[in-house]
């Protein structure tokens, strides 16, 4: 098997597991009445080796890159999965990029013995280190549950030097915050006051800046992929409905007004998906590839919001209920859009990068 075949079959198998055991109907039940779905999917992800896909082969990983992760992010988005895969992969990416291959944390993340979270803004202004060596930071929203052990965070040393940190957050205070998106678990984490030891520091100065760029791109692609996957699901569901729901003695999808709406949804989805592929193919190269990652993120989230809104409208009264999963997509789309500083920040980042201006 060449790499592409391997990647395709991996994504396919992830998709099959999700479709069979963690379908959107199950997610809907989970968001409405609770249950163990989120713990269950984490267990399966460890068992099936999903976590190590991009980790070095020496650690039992798959040795693949972002091009293998993106299709999996898509699958997880398509199934509205609660698996905190993105934080985990960013933490793994950071450790590998900083040559922490021998680090016990990496092995634990790959096995699923530890879980990693990431502060979604990835800004050097989100944290500082005091003279006493303790972290100074506001509370941060993270996709995390009470078992998370590592937080990837950017900040500044007492002298202003940029630094990339991986903190042990087992002792950090966290409180559950109810976000509109019920498909994923978010916590407000209060990392302020945590000790910043030598091994917390992954990179400093230019190396930290380079890591921030890399992870910023990675996060942008991950959220874009999550959104593209969500678009696929929401479009498929809508098309299904347009074919089966009848009014005026015919399938509503036979009204040209609605057919064109569906066709426009398809066009928008394909635009977002194409942009995602283009950006993924050149990941990590230069300023242009970073700009493309940001544009892919902004576009995919925008399209995801639009498509879910259209889906509600085209479902009529049913679309307004909690029993119809379409609103879960809209809420997830809106949250994806708000992450990384929101749509305008992503687009401005791209413009600044392409024109060669400091943001």
């Amino acid at each position: 098997m060449d790499d592409q075949e391997l990647i395709d079959s991996l994504a396919e198998s992830v998709g099959a597991v999700l479709a069979n055991n963690f379908s959107i109907e199950e997610v809907l039940k989970f968001t409405n009445v609770g249950g163990e779905l989120d713990a269950e999917i984490k267990r399966r992800a460890c068992e099936l080796g999903w976590l190590g896909i991009a980790a070095p082969e020496s650690l039992g990983g798959g040795g693949l890159g972002i091009e293998a992760l993106v299709p999996i992010y898509c699958e997880l988005g398509e199934h509205l999965s609660s698996l905190p895969f993105i934080g985990q992969q960013l933490c793994i990416d950071a450790l590998v990029a900083c040559a922490f291959e021998q680090d016990g944390r990496l092995a634990a993340l790959v096995e699923g013995a530890a879980w990693g979270a990431v502060a979604p803004e990835l800004s050097f202004d989100s944290a500082g280190i005091g003279r006493d060596g303790a972290l100074e930071a506001d509370d941060i929203p993270v996709f995390d549950d009470d078992h998370d052990s590592h937080l990837l965070l950017f900040g500044r040393e007492a002298d202003g030097e940029p630094v990339a940190l991986m903190l042990d957050i087992r002792q950090a205070e966290r409180r559950a915050v109810a976000f509109h998106d019920h498909t994923r678990r978010l916590r407000m984490l209060a990392p302020g006051g945590l000790p910043v030891t030598r091994e917390c520091r992954l990179a400093s100065g230019d190396a930290a800046i380079a890591l921030q760029t890399r992870l910023g791109d990675h996060l942008a692609l991950a959220l874009a992929a999550d959104s593209v996957g969500g678009c696929r699901a929401v479009l498929a569901r809508t098309i299904d409905y347009l074919k089966t729901r009848e009014q005026f003695g015919r399938a509503i999808g036979s009204f040209q007004a609605l057919k064109h709406r569906a066709a426009t949804m398809k066009l928008e989805l394909e635009t977002a998906a194409s942009l995602l592929r283009v950006a993924t193919a050149c990941f990590g190269k230069n300023a242009k590839s970073s700009a493309l990652a940001s544009l892919a993120k902004a576009r995919a989230c925008d399209v995801y919001v639009k498509l879910s809104g259209e889906a509600i409208q085209l479902h009529g009264g049913i679309g307004f209920t909690r029993e119809c999963p379409v609103h879960l997509h809209l809420k997830r789309a809106k949250l994806n859009q708000a992450l990384c500083g929101g749509d305008r920040a992503s687009i401005d980042r791209a413009a600044n990068l392409l024109v060669g201006r400091a943001a």
């Binding site: 009848e246 003695g249 009529g316 009264g317 679309g319 307004f320 209920t321 119809c324 708000a338 749509d343």
Partner: protein, 393 residues
């Protein structure tokens, strides 16, 4: 002297109304109504109806012989502007009672029906609308709930859905099929149905905006006295047209005034920097503002000229779409913060400032009571004279 009695002098009327609202609107009613129990919500709505009624304001839009005031447009404008400025509660629970019921009975009701039911509306009886069914939404005329005449009563069986405020309601404006053999528009009748009657089961449906304002209603051998038939038997389609065309203008007008106040507060607030200093947001904000002013203008024209029959579908589409864009824009201004769930209170779908909830709720206006797609068909076919869709029955 009631507030309404000042109406002959617009300046004094406005001043008196403002002063009165300042006195009676409870300062933190939004907080009190946030996550309120059904009983608290319903008690509060009834209290507010009684307060407005005591000042002649609740039914001021009604004809004089029913105890209304037959206000001029200018007077109506003053009331809505002041209610909006005072951030007074809106009478959501009574939307159908105060608007659709009189709208329907004025044209079709018998004297007995009017004498029997109209005073009850003023006293806080709640009505809801039982038109839609699982299989009959946009194609309302395909409804299947059956009403069979049996001596001096009708026996009703079937299922209704999406009945707003059904859980609080006393009476139902019901559409049911009385002649299954007639063409679909010709075999429907409209009834007044007691929702507390035996055989009625009302089940709230959970909505995506966190509320459960609409209900499924199951009807199992429910008896309706024959005297509760509104209009002639099998003429229910025409009756329903009066219900549906009930001045939505007034409702939307009241909501637009609330949106307008929100804009004005924003313009005056230091918070405005958040969108003023962002080129994109500033321009989007101004586009929304222009849309909102256009809708207000259309409603003014519509209310002033009863021949402006083209405007109602236009107004409804524009209001719904403006509200959707406006609240969506605000979710982007507030960013991550807007994604955090905050408890909210029930309203008829206007901009309350809990942006994600306002955004979600905005689909009420684009789906219910003639979806935007159906209304666009109406504009295209009935107003612009374009040919009908092939084979649409």
């Amino acid at each position: 002297m009631r507030v309404i009695d000042r109406r002959s002098d617009p300046v004094a009327f406005r001043a008196e109304l403002r002063e009165w609202l300042g006195r009676v609107v409870p300062p933190c009613w939004q907080e009190r109504m946030t996550d309120a129990s059904d009983e608290d919500f319903s008690r509060f709505q009834r209290w507010w109806l009684a307060e407005l009624d005591a000042q002649g304001l609740a039914t001021a839009h009604w004809p004089v012989e029913w105890g209304g005031e037959e206000l001029t447009i200018q007077e109506q404008v003053i009331i809505f502007e002041e209610l909006a400025r005072a951030k007074a509660p809106d009478l959501v629970m009574f939307t159908i009672s105060l608007n659709h019921v009189p709208g329907t009975l004025a044209k079709w009701g018998t004297k007995e029906q009017i004498d029997r039911y109209i005073p009850g509306v003023r006293n806080g009886e709640v009505w809801c609308q039982g038109f839609s069914e699982p299989g009959a939404g946009s194609d309302l005329a395909s409804l299947r709930t059956r009403a069979v005449r049996d001596g001096d009563r009708y026996i009703v069986n079937g299922q209704k859905v999406w009945s707003s405020y059904g859980a609080y309601a006393d009476y139902y404006l019901l559409l049911a099929r009385t002649d299954p053999d007639a063409p679909k528009h010709k075999g429907i009748s409209c009834f007044i149905m007691d929702l507390k009657a035996p055989g009625v089961e009302v089940r709230p449906i959970r909505q995506m905006n966190g509320m459960n304002e609409f209900c499924e209603v199951f009807l199992d051998d429910v008896e309706i006295p024959a005297g509760n038939l509104i209009g002639p038997e099998n003429e229910g389609w025409a009756v329903a047209q009066s219900t549906l065309s009930t001045e939505r203008g007034l409702l939307i007008f009241a909501l637009c005034e609330r949106m307008n106040i929100l804009f004005e507060e924003q313009f005056a607030s230091p918070d405005a920097a958040r969108w003023m200093e962002d080129d994109q947001l500033r321009r989007e904000m101004m586009t929304c503002y222009a849309d909102m002013q256009a809708v207000r203008g259309l409603i003014h024209s519509m209310l002033a000229d009863h021949n402006a029959s083209e405007f109602p579908p236009i107004v409804k589409i524009l209001y719904g779409e403006t509200l959707q864009r406006f609240s969506e824009m605000w979710t982007r201004i507030d960013g991550l913060d807007a994604m955090v769930e905050r408890p909210t209170f029930i309203s008829s779908g206007y901009a309350k400032g809990n942006w994600m909830v306002d955004y979600l709720t905005s689909w009420t206006w684009t789906i219910s009571g003639g979806s935007n797609e159906i209304l666009r068909n109406v504009i295209a076919e009935r107003q612009l004279g374009l040919p009908r869709e092939p084979s649409a029955r």
